[in-house]
């Protein structure tokens, strides 16, 4: 049983207009076995939260804390966080020149586990996971994300989720850009990883669509860098009917353009 605890987190970025605060005091605790949906309009800071947990250098934590079983995550480098068990499924996975998927997956697995996986079982495991996510076998020989469609990139993110077996998965708008079939395949992957009982999930999304396939235990509504309402799965149903207008008006602020969604 692990706990990822975010306390009163304030995060800013440098822009041409100066420093801009994006997260304005976020507190959230996720335990193994729980699925938390973070929902909110574009520009509310959801992706900033995801990237900050993973340690993206663009984001500066000005106050607050993130701990994993009491360990200070903010003091860890990006790779240390991953090895500690934090996984970010990215919204826009980059294409990495010169590195095949096979090589990449094995190198990452070795780094995370601290030892190279046994070649035979590893190859089988990768192949089985790829089959389940309906990723063509020839992807293994292609460079990481190179020439993959948006949907293929998302599937490959979930492939990594299943293979690396993190303690906490942060899924940053994994549903965006997916058609219904791909959404189902990807959701099944997340559910399989979750069903191991060893993972907590933070599911960041703009839309309720993915929540038909992945059932959250908790729903947090995120507006203007803060959580403005929390509840159970029923909150998602209400959002589906009412949208975010109520919160945006309630917050007394116009929704910022989608520049850091």
């Amino acid at each position: 049983m692990s706990t990822l605890e975010i306390k009163d987190l304030h995060v800013s970025i440098e822009t041409e207009q100066g420093t801009k605060e994006i997260l304005k005091g976020v507190s959230l605790t996720i335990r193994t076995g729980e699925t938390h949906a973070i929902m909110g309009p574009n520009g509310s800071g959801k992706s900033t939260l995801a990237s900050t947990i993973a340690g993206h250098p663009r984001y500066t934590v000005t106050s607050g804390s993130i701990t994993l079983d009491g360990e200070n995550v903010l003091e860890m480098s990006v790779d240390e966080r991953a090895r500690a068990g934090v996984f970010l499924a990215m919204q826009y996975p980059v294409e990495v020149p010169g590195v095949t998927m096979t090589n990449f997956l094995r190198t990452a697995k070795t780094a995370i586990d601290g030892e190279a996986p046994a070649l035979r079982t590893w190859t089988k495991e990768v192949k089985a996971a790829m089959d389940q996510l309906r990723i063509d076998a020839d992807f293994a020989q292609r460079n990481v994300n190179e020439g993959f469609s948006g949907g293929e990139k998302k599937r490959v993110e979930i492939l990594q989720l299943e293979l690396f077996k993190p303690k906490f998965a942060v899924l940053d708008e994994t549903d965006s850009g997916l058609d219904v079939d791909a959404l189902k395949v990807v959701s099944e992957g997340v559910n399989r990883a979750h069903a191991t009982g060893n993972m907590g999930t933070m599911l960041i999304t703009h839309y309720t669509r993915i929540l038909r396939y992945i059932k959250p235990d908790f729903v947090h509504v995120f507006v203007d860098g803060k959580i403005v309402e929390e509840g159970g799965p029923e909150l998602a149903d209400r959002l589906e009917e009412e949208g975010y207008d109520r919160y945006v008006v309630g917050a007394g602020q116009a929704v910022a353009p989608a520049s850091h969604a």
């Binding site: 790779d79 990495v96 020149p97 010169g98 190179e146």
Partner: protein
């Protein structure tokens, strides 16, 4: 902004660039200053370039000449002067089966000088100051299992060395010849290659010089009917390396591949120029140079000329240069030039792309638990391996892979 990339001339066709979604030029556009000179410069045909055995025909360049404009000419003054070799500056050894090393060739003794006619000041003074040229001849029909190795060791930085090597691959022979350069010297080295009818010859020139070595070279090959020639330039060491790899044909059905890989660190100037002269019909050529750059003042240059002459109908040619910029403060110049004098060809294309390994790539790999140094190694190794695996001499491939890793480790700061 300190990283610079230049790419000149228009691009023909749609190159597929391994590892980059977009062409590298666009990839870096947002982050990197670029200097374009489209349409400014009037290029004369490569065919009009002066070649001569007479030193008096080449003035000492001042750096403004088209073929010298990227080169730090002031730093190579010693190599451009008409100066004799400084005694024992080089230790030369040749590993080859008995009888392959023939009596040395003096100027005018065939086949020396038949194919390699100096095309610049450095090459002309190199040959003029080489009294006796090493002559390696692979007998007709011979199929070598082991490569021929020519080991060139420089015994002192700043000391002048001139050389001219002649390599002949007899009819239908199969061989690999490796030239290995180590140590330090101001080395002016010409290599003249004859690939006789039906032969298959690979020449690998490896520059593993120490940091204070300077090396200028002209490697010319003539490829006969149905012969296959592969030239691979590997430049990792040296303060300044400038290697011209040129090829022309003497019979139809011949193929030439000019490949290169280079890795420039802080303060290093690595320049590669290739020229494929399609002077005969129905020949094929492929040029691919790949380079990595890291560190302040790392400078690489690739200039690739392909000339398809009027009579060279049925030519199939392609040339490509790709650079991977690993840090700020580097400069990669890349200039593909394609001249086509006949429309009756199979294909002709050129491409150039320079991409950055940037913070987003690094973040992606590190977010999967991979430490920074491993991440860089993974990317560079993958990028350069495409050339290394063409050598097909496992021991050398392993050594070069290690040398590339050392470059990366050295650059971790």
């Amino acid at each position: 902004m300190t990283a610079e990339v230049t790419t000149e001339k228009a691009r023909i066709g749609a190159p597929s660039i391994a590892g980059f979604t977009e062409e590298g030029e666009q990839l870096v556009a947002a982050k990197v200053d670029r200097h374009h000179s489209h349409g400014v410069q009037v290029m004369s045909s490569r065919a009009e370039r002066l070649t001569s055995h007479d030193v008096a025909d080449f003035a000492i360049p001042n750096g403004r000449e088209e073929e010298w404009r990227f080169t730090p000419v002031r730093e190579i003054a010693n190599l451009l002067s008409d100066t004799a070799t400084d005694g024992d500056v080089l230790s030369l050894s040749v590993e080859a089966p008995d009888g392959f090393v023939k009596p040395a060739l003096r100027a005018g003794e065939a086949p020396r000088g038949a194919t390699l006619v100096p095309a610049d000041r450095a090459a002309v003074v190199a040959s003029a100051n080489t009294e006796e040229a090493l002559h390696v001849q692979i007998p007709a029909e011979a199929e070598l299992q082991e490569p021929v190795r020519v080991l060139v060791k420089g015994n002192g930085a700043g000391r002048r060395s001139n050389s001219h090597y002649v390599i002949e691959a007899g009819e239908n022979s199969r061989a690999v010849v490796i030239l290995e350069h180590e140590g330090a010297a101001d080395h002016n080295g010409n290599v003249e290659v004859f690939v006789r009818e039906g032969a298959q010859l690979t020449v690998v020139s490896v520059q593993l010089w120490e940091d204070d070595a300077k090396h200028l070279a002209q490697h010319d090959a003539e490829v006969a009917k149905d012969a296959v020639y592969k030239h691979i330039a590997v430049s990792l060491g040296g303060k300044i390396v400038r290697l011209n790899s040129n090829v022309r044909f003497s019979g139809e059905g011949a193929e030439a591949e000019l490949l290169g890989l280079y890795f420039a660190d802080a303060g290093q100037h690595l320049e590669h120029r290739s020229f494929v002269d399609h002077n005969v019909a129905n020949c094929k050529s492929n040029v691919l140079y790949k380079g990595a750059l890291q560190g302040k003042g790392a400078h690489t240059v690739w200039v690739g000329d392909v000339l398809i002459q009027k009579q060279a109908e049925g030519t199939d040619s392609y040339e490509k240069n790709q650079n991977l910029v690993l840090t700020d403060g580097c400069r990669a110049d890349s200039v593909p030039n394609l001249e086509i004098e006949t429309g009756l060809i199979e294909g002709a294309g050129h491409a150039s792309a320079t991409g950055r390994f940037d913070d987003e790539h690094l973040f992606y790999l590190m977010a999967r638990g991979i430490p920074e140094d491993v991440a860089r190694r993974l990317v560079v190794r993958g990028f350069l391996n495409e050339i290394i695996q063409q050598i097909k001499v496992p021991a050398l491939e392993a050594r070069l892979t290690e040398a590339v890793e050392r470059e990366l480790t050295a650059g971790n700061n």
